[in-house]
């Protein structure tokens, strides 16, 4: 398993290089540049700016310069947030996104999995219909609707919780954004869990387990739950990467200093280094989490083994 892990990590390097290369050149092909605005800069000023960021060099040279810096862990200075390096922006913002995201994922698992299981066991009962229609609503209502609504009701009208702000990650400030962020995940996971549980419950070994005279709860917890979790686990890899890298909507509505905004703002501002930094970070995170998911698989499903 160790050598498998090492192999996967080595394979990640060319993948990441392809991602970096594609994004680097795609970003430069996009029309408009980092210094385009309502007031066009006088040519001499634009020239000064281009020189300051090495944009006056030929593109292949800029690409090599970027790779060279990257190897040394230098993501370059941000075009927009000039007082900070991109690596600094990401390392300062990531803890907030991570904290928020992990709570949301935890809530989604702790609520979504049991709901899905209950719906599967009581298939076509009232409980099933209630859970599934609520889940459908959860998926259908986007978080840019839920988030301001939560802030308005609990922050402004009831005054129970702050309407926004981070405050170092105090629980009062975390609660509403965690709810807003996890609702959709709860819904997804519940639906996924229900479907896969129903499938597992219909399989031969479950029939065997029941035939042995095990109680229904024992059958579910000991024999059905683990295999039924597989689709959820494989969903969790990319989902976690997506959630802990922040949501621009949630961050803007609740004023959370995460990194989600950098993905969107970086692209809109043509902040080349910031876009590249977030792409590298997100890409590496996805590769890592997918590896973890694959390793988890082997623990959940005895048929999967990574032999050396």
């Amino acid at each position: 398993m160790l050598s498998y892990t090492l192999k996967r990590l080595l394979q990640a390097i060319p993948t990441l290089l392809i991602v970096i290369t594609l994004s680097f050149f795609l970003m430069r092909v996009a029309p408009g540049g980092p210094f385009d605005g309502e007031r066009r800069l006088p040519p001499e000023i634009e020239q000064n700016l281009r020189a300051a960021y090495h944009l006056d060099e030929p593109l292949p040279m800029q690409y090599l310069r970027y790779l060279g810096d990257l190897v040394q862990g230098d993501l370059g200075p941000s075009f927009k947030y000039k007082d900070f390096d991109v690596s600094e922006l990401i390392s300062q913002g990531f803890p907030a996104s991570l904290e928020l995201g992990m709570w949301a994922i935890l809530a989604a698992l702790l609520i979504g999995v049991p709901l899905g299981v209950i719906a599967a066991i009581r298939r076509n009962s009232t409980a099933d219909y209630v859970v599934m229609s609520t889940a459908l609503a959860g998926i259908a209502v986007p978080n840019f609707v839920i988030a301001p609504l939560l802030a308005l009701v609990f922050g402004v009208l009831l005054g129970w919780l702050p309407a926004g702000g981070w405050n170092g990650g105090a629980w009062q400030n975390l609660l509403l954004p965690v709810v807003a962020l996890s609702i959709q995940q709860i819904a997804y996971i519940a639906r996924m869990m229900r479907a896969s549980m129903i499938e597992v419950l219909g399989s031969h070994y479950i029939r065997t387990a029941r035939a042995k005279g095990l109680s229904e709860w024992k059958v579910i917890l000991r024999h059905a739950l683990r295999p039924a979790m597989l689709p959820v686990v494989s969903y969790l890899g990319p989902a976690i990467a997506g959630i802990i890298t922040g949501s621009v909507v949630i961050e803007q509505i609740f004023g959370i200093p995460g990194i989600g905004r950098y993905f969107v703002q970086g692209a809109l501002n043509r902040d080349y280094t910031l876009v590249m930094g977030t792409v590298v970070f997100y890409g590496a995170l996805i590769l890592l989490l997918n590896l973890i998911v694959d390793l988890l698989y082997s623990m959940l499903d005895p048929q999967i083994r990574y032999d050396d």
Partner: protein, 545 residues
């Protein structure tokens, strides 16, 4: 409105207990936020500032959300009063020679940086040289080109030491100009021109703006800076007017979403919110009238015509017809409704001294305008049966779209068939500058309170000249105004230039911008002004409120 009431605090506590019993075991006391805002003795002002500053180096800042902070930290030689008028800043007085070419500024006595280092005229010289150094890449450097050798320094042809600034002694700064400039005082009042702590910059380099390093000359010092979370300022005890500063702390919150800013204002989490959501404007007028501050600023919303050959609007008859058929009041009253001023002019009216230029048809009835417009279109060979197809470009935003749709409807009776195209801002402005458009949306906010700032954009060699105007008459007027020292003469030249734009239908002005903010009525010292500057040193919270 502002402090959270004790009752709300109790409610949030019980909700907190309930929730932590459920599962969450996160620390922090029950009422941290409320405790801070309900403090009666401390003067803490929290501002929803619109966005995270790109920098706290005053020479790297450009946006209002940035200069609001740098102005609190760094005082230029010339400062702003609460009303936005120019008053002595670090310089207590200044004078110019009879020809307007030599200026002498006398710094106040005993000035110190916040770290105790003496603040001298050398710091002012250092700052201006740095501002024009190519590597600084300051956006507004061209505003300082009247200074001797400024352009050559900024393009790297001369060393920064050749710039026409000097410090004959620690308290005197001299500036030599290559031609008279009516706007020198205004440009020196911008925070980018403020003296800088050269001892800190020399020692810390690019990290000089970090809270631990920065030394300031203004009313406040930088206490903490958490990117995208908050910036905290505390009073600078070494500020020359430190005894007049009432606030104990200023907190700038980079809240981008105007709905979020409104929510937080209503929840008592901020005392000032810059920018209100247009969709809630009517509601705010009804429910938060005492806090609503709306007034015109130095900004203009307009469309530009592409005058280049081959453009369908290269024919002035068509441009005039479109200008005639545009019902500006419909846009300001029915679509926007925030008190925007319909424009029959180009330079915003709030620019007090510069007024008078306007369309010659401004007073006509709508019927007369439409009749004339139809006649012009007919002359040009277009009408309902032979429609003119026109593409309107705007940068993606809901309000821009509404206005573009309205323009299409207003021009339809003339036989104009409008197609709308929108792109994100970066692409939009580049394409406009390259002349890749027919009729395009534009907006301009003044950098300094001067008509020249608006009109200069249409000189033939200006990179912002989207219409592609190439008129020796116009260029001569602008060039003359740039070098004119006499205020009256210069004003006439600028008036003539503006009238030229209108007479030739180079632009389709729509309205003067307004700004809307929510300001807690407990704040005193806040005065509306067209520059929209509200230095925190003048603000005070009435804590008994």
């Amino acid at each position: 409105m502002s402090p959270t009431s004790p009752m709300q605090c109790a409610a949030s506590l019980s909700a907190g207990l309930l929730l932590s019993a459920l599962s969450l075991s996160l620390g922090a006391s029950g009422c941290a936020m409320a405790a801070e805002s309900s403090s009666q003795s401390e003067q803490i002002l929290r501002i929803a500032n619109g966005a995270e500053p790109g920098s706290l180096d005053p020479q790297q800042t450009n946006g209002t959300w940035e200069t609001r902070i740098t102005r609190d930290l760094f005082e230029p030689l010339i400062a702003y009063s609460a009303n936005g008028e120019l008053i002595p800043g670090l310089a207590e007085r200044w004078e110019s020679s009879a020809d307007g070419l030599s200026w002498t500024f006398h710094l106040r006595e005993g000035l110190e940086w916040s770290d105790g280092t003496p603040l001298t005229a050398e710091d002012a010289v250092f700052a201006l040289r740095r501002l024009l150094t190519p590597a600084t890449a300051a956006h507004n450097a061209t505003l300082y080109y009247p200074i001797v050798n400024a352009r050559a320094v900024n393009t790297g042809a001369l060393a920064p030491e050749q710039l026409g600034v000097a410090a004959p002694d620690a308290q005197t700064l001299t500036i030599t100009l290559s031609h008279p400039s009516a706007t020198l005082e205004q440009t020196l009042a911008m925070s980018e021109a403020a003296p800088l702590p050269r001892h800190v910059i020399a020692a810390k380099g690019a990290d000089w703006t970090r809270p631990a390093n920065m030394a300031t000359s203004g009313a406040f010092v930088l206490k903490t800076w958490s990117p995208q979370a908050e910036i905290r300022l505390t009073p600078n005890p070494r500020y020359h007017a430190a005894d007049t500063v009432a606030l104990d702390e200023v907190v700038y919150l980079p809240i981008e979403e105007s709905h979020a800013a409104l929510n937080r204002f209503r929840a008592g989490e901020v005392e000032i919110a810059y920018g209100v959501p247009a969709s809630h404007y009517a509601w705010i007028q009804d429910n938060l009238a005492a806090a609503l501050q709306t007034y015109p600023i130095l900004g203009e919303y307009f469309y530009v015509f592409n005058l280049r050959e081959g453009s369908p609007v290269a024919d002035q008859r068509i441009r005039r017809a479109l200008n005639l058929a545009t019902r500006r009041e419909v846009i300001t009253e029915r679509i926007l409704g925030m008190g925007q001023i319909p424009s029959w002019h180009f330079v915003p009216k709030a620019l007090g001294e510069h007024q008078g230029a306007r369309f010659d048809f401004a007073d006509w009835s709508m019927d007369r305008r439409m009749a004339k417009a139809r006649e012009l279109m007919d002359d040009a060979g277009y009408g309902p049966d032979t429609p003119l197809e026109l593409t309107l470009r705007y940068n993606t935003l809901e309000d821009h779209k509404k206005i573009a749709v309205a323009l299409g409807a207003m021009w339809k009776p003339l036989g104009v068939k409008v197609t709308l195209t929108n792109t994100e801002a970066a692409v939009h402005y580049r394409d406009l500058a390259l002349g890749d458009f027919e009729v395009g949306r534009y907006g301009m906010i003044a950098t300094i309170a001067d008509a020249y700032d608006f009109l200069n954009a249409f000189s033939s060699d200006n990179t912002s000249n989207a219409p592609g105007l190439s008129s020796p008459t116009y260029d001569a007027l602008i060039e003359a105004a740039a070098r004119e020292g006499d205020v009256g003469t210069r004003q006439r030249q600028l008036h003539d230039a503006e009238q030229y734009l209108l007479d030739n239908d180079v632009v389709l002005p729509l309205y003067d911008y307004v700004t809307s903010s929510l300001v807690d009525p407990a704040i005193s010292g806040w005065a509306p002004n067209a520059l929209d500057v509200h230095p925190s040193r003048y603000l005070q919270l009435d804590t008994s409120h």
